[in-house]
């Protein structure tokens, strides 16, 4: 399968296999006018298989979202057909207005215009918890988008 190389844009590589669509949705890539390629289940020496997203425009990608959904992903900035910058992402300490708490008893379900905040509770387990009710966020679950 051949996808044309992009000239100026962004390649999100090493996405955990199966997570590309979730990332596509959460990054709001569906709202872009430019070409966006989602490549799923690409063979990878390091990961077995992986997903890749190619965006044919130099947009600002929310790295917190990338890191939350797929902590091993890399973000490559392509300028004039050359990879000018390779960003290794880190788990953010806080996720603000990225995901919603799934606990029906949480104050975030009723309080008007409240900021939805999760903090990194355990870096090794890559575990985030809602600051209001301590409910664990599971990045593999499909969250209602903010």
């Amino acid at each position: 399968m051949k996808i044309d190389a992009i000239k100026n844009g962004i390649v999100i590589d090493h996405i955990t296999a199966g997570c590309a669509m979730q990332l596509y949705n959460m990054l709001g890539l569906d709202k872009l006018d430019c070409s966006v390629a989602i490549i799923k289940n690409v063979p990878s020496a390091k990961m077995g298989k992986k997903d890749i997203i190619k965006i044919d425009s130099n947009i600002n990608v929310n790295l917190d979202i990338v890191s939350f959904i797929s902590p091993d992903a890399t973000v490559n900035i392509i300028v004039d057909g050359i990879c000018r910058e390779k960003r290794n992402i880190e788990l953010p300490e806080r996720l603000v207005n990225i995901i919603k708490c799934k606990n029906p008893r949480c104050i975030t379900t009723t309080e008007q215009e409240i900021r939805h905040i999760f903090v990194l509770a355990d870096r090794n387990k890559r575990e985030y918890r809602c600051i209001y009710c301590d409910t664990k966020a599971d990045s593999r679950k499909n969250y209602k988008l903010k």
Binding site: R105, C106, I107, T109, E111, I114, I131, Y132, C133, D134
Partner: protein, 305 residues
Amino acid sequence: MRHLINILDFSVEELDELIKVADDIIANPVKYQDACNHKILGTLFFEPSTRTRLSFESAMLSLGGQVLGFSEANSSSAAKGESVSDTAAVVSGYCDIIAMRHPKEGAPLVASAHSHVPVINAGDGGHYHPTQTLADLLTIHHEKGGFEGLTVGLCGDLKFGRTVHSLIEALSRYKGVKFVLISPEELKLPSFVKDEYIKEKNIPYEQSTSLDDVMPQLDVLYMTRVQKERFFNEEDYLRLKDSYILTTDKMKLAKDDMIVMHPLPRVNEISVAVDEDPRASYFRQTLYGKYMRMALILKLLNITV
């Protein structure tokens, strides 16, 4: 400005200091009777509660302060749809300190971000109830002389029981405590509490479905109510509510100096006949709660006597 949302907001040293002040209040109540003169406590209770609200009000009145507030959401502006943050911003202009109970988890944290005065979490749904934990800590400390080397049994609803979670969090910071977790399979302690506060700290613990089996080793038995309002399904509630009932026969298996605690209200999990036993400390526990709330109000208002 300090708030108390979670018992872990206070260090062990601060908890020890609160216990010390509470002990002094017990010994010299007159010394503290005007400590909060001209200060006002706002009690924002969006959910019914008798003991906690009256305990807070009694604590403030015993310190010479005054009290205003509401005792259910229907009699507050919440019934008109006002947000917690707006209510907190408004009420904090009318008082010097707020005690707040709310059915939604995290509501007091939201209030604390918008209040101009200290906020005390008086219970947020099934989440935290730190002043109950303060009462529990003073009860144990006062009646057992400290925390070290104690075997603490927690019995009943360990899944939804917020008082149990907070007590485990608080006691896990003291050396030499052992936990015995007694509950039916359906109401076992959630893994996030067990992992974070017991397993990761290498605290010895034991799990049992039988109260009789573990009774002889306990120094403290903390009984809890199986609460109807925490169940989505009434059938589950009816099946489990009578699982663990403490009777005078069971008390015969216990140590002579064991104490029985309960956050109250009791439904039927402790037989009324047990009340006569001097080891039943649950009514004394409510009084300890008042003294700890007095010490807490003084601390958050930065008043030293």
